[in-house]
């Protein structure tokens, strides 16, 4: 499902960029023999609508998919989501601007040109916000294809705007210079921000990805699925670790041999209570009360029942097995 979200997101961005380019070109009133103005305008409208369709798919799939734990409201109220709230929120802002632009365009003739035009100018805000949203939230941002795609979109729009400004009449010299300077500066800033932000290690955490979704301290692998959300079911792993006895409790610290990042700490108290803590790469996956049996420990981790068998190997080192199975909620 997350694939669908990402695919539709990038598609919507490409279509939106193409639409913005055509919109900018059509405003210049120039035309070529092979490309009548009404064709370019028609294409602009159709691409916008298509972008809108993909945008809706993008939003719906992102809400449905359990990965980012988004709900319906997060799609309409910016900055309240738990997943990368700032960058996601920008997407919401861009989405709502596009709703306004589309709605006013549909009733253009009744609205009057001036009102329509003011809202339509928000497209110049909506597009860059969408781009930054994509770069900030996108889990694909560091991949080559995504970078190339976004770079092409940005280049196309900036080039179109500069071309259009260059053709504005002599009355607009100030606006033209400011516009071109602004466009170049903005692109430069984007590149700098990219280098310092999304392309760096640790961006996912800095952007506000909830801790339980983070995978390792290295580069976030492409295609991270929802399996890191909780302890997987159907595991049957060997464990190794150490045992520490204190007056009130016994603490077993175990590492999963198969998945070295997975660490389990079992604390068995003298009064028969206990806890199981599971972490991955230092980030907590689960912490639950444990049922201490004679030779095994069980604990409920979300929808998974974890059973840990521990064997004393002497010298304080222990071995064991971890089995997990799905139980009904």
């Amino acid at each position: 499902m997350w694939y669908a979200t990402r695919a539709s997101g990038y598609t919507a961005l490409v279509l939106l960029s193409a639409s913005v380019v055509l919109g900018v070109l059509t405003s210049s009133r120039e035309s070529r023999r092979d490309w009548p103005r009404f064709v370019v305008q028609s294409l602009h409208r159709n691409l916008s609508l298509l972008a809108g369709v993909f945008l809706v798919v993008h939003i719906v799939t992102s809400v449905i998919d359990p990965f980012a734990k988004l709900n319906f409201v997060d799609a309409f109220i910016p900055f309240i989501a738990t997943y990368r709230p700032l960058w996601l929120g920008l997407g919401v802002v861009a989405f709502e601007l596009l709703i306004a632009i589309t709605a006013t365009s549909l009733v253009r003739h009744r609205l009057g040109w001036r009102s329509w035009r003011v809202v339509h100018l928000f497209a110049y805000a909506s597009w860059p916000i969408a781009v930054v949203h994509g770069l900030g939230t996108g889990t694909d941002t560091k991949s080559i294809w995504a970078l190339v795609l976004v770079a092409v979109c940005v280049f196309a729009v900036v080039a179109a705007v500069i071309w259009r400004l260059a053709r504005a009449g002599p009355r607009f010299t100030t606006l033209r210079t400011l516009g071109i300077a602004g466009g170049v500066t903005a692109t430069g800033l984007l590149v700098v921000w990219m280098a310092a932000g999304p392309l760096q290690h640790g961006w996912a955490r800095a952007a506000g990805t909830p801790a339980d979704l983070l995978v390792g301290t290295g580069a976030t692998p492409v295609g991270t699925s929802s399996s890191t959300a909780e302890l997987a079911a159907g595991l049957s792993d060997q464990l190794t670790g150490r045992l520490v006895r204190s007056a009130a409790s016994v603490t077993a610290t175990l590492t999963d041999i198969r998945d070295a990042a997975l660490q389990i700490v079992v604390v068995a108290n003298a009064d028969g209570t206990g806890t199981v803590s599971v972490t991955r790469a230092g980030a907590r996956v689960c912490q639950a009360a444990a049922t201490i049996g004679t030779s095994d420990v069980t604990a409920r981790c979300g929808s998974v029942l974890a059973t840990i068998n521990v064997v004393d190997l002497g010298n304080g080192s222990i071995g064991g097995t971890l089995t997990t199975q799905k139980v009904s909620a």
């Binding site: 009133r29 103005r37 253009r108």
Partner: protein, 81 residues
């Protein structure tokens, strides 16, 4: 009774985008400066669709299909002010 309609351009709204001339050359020709010269004759049924398309696609909503003989329209050529 036959209702006769014609195409009319609002000269104040028109900003010479040029869509109309492309979409309805049967009744609209462009002058040397890119502004539409609209033929004032009544529109026959087969031309109505083209007229409506031109009206819908004008970026400034400057075109309209109007009834012929509107009262109060400025028809006197010598009417100066």
């Amino acid at each position: 009774m036959v209702v006769r309609v014609r195409l009319r351009v609002d000269p104040i709204k028109c900003k010479a985008h040029g869509m109309c001339g492309e979409l309805f050359p049967e009744r609209i020709r462009m002058d040397d400066w890119g502004y539409p010269v609209v033929d004032p004759r009544a529109l026959s049924d087969d031309l109505l669709d083209h007229a409506r398309r031109a009206v819908a696609d004008c970026p400034r909503s400057a075109l309209r299909v109007d009834l012929i003989d509107q009262p109060g329209a400025r028809e006197r050529p010598d009417d100066p002010h």
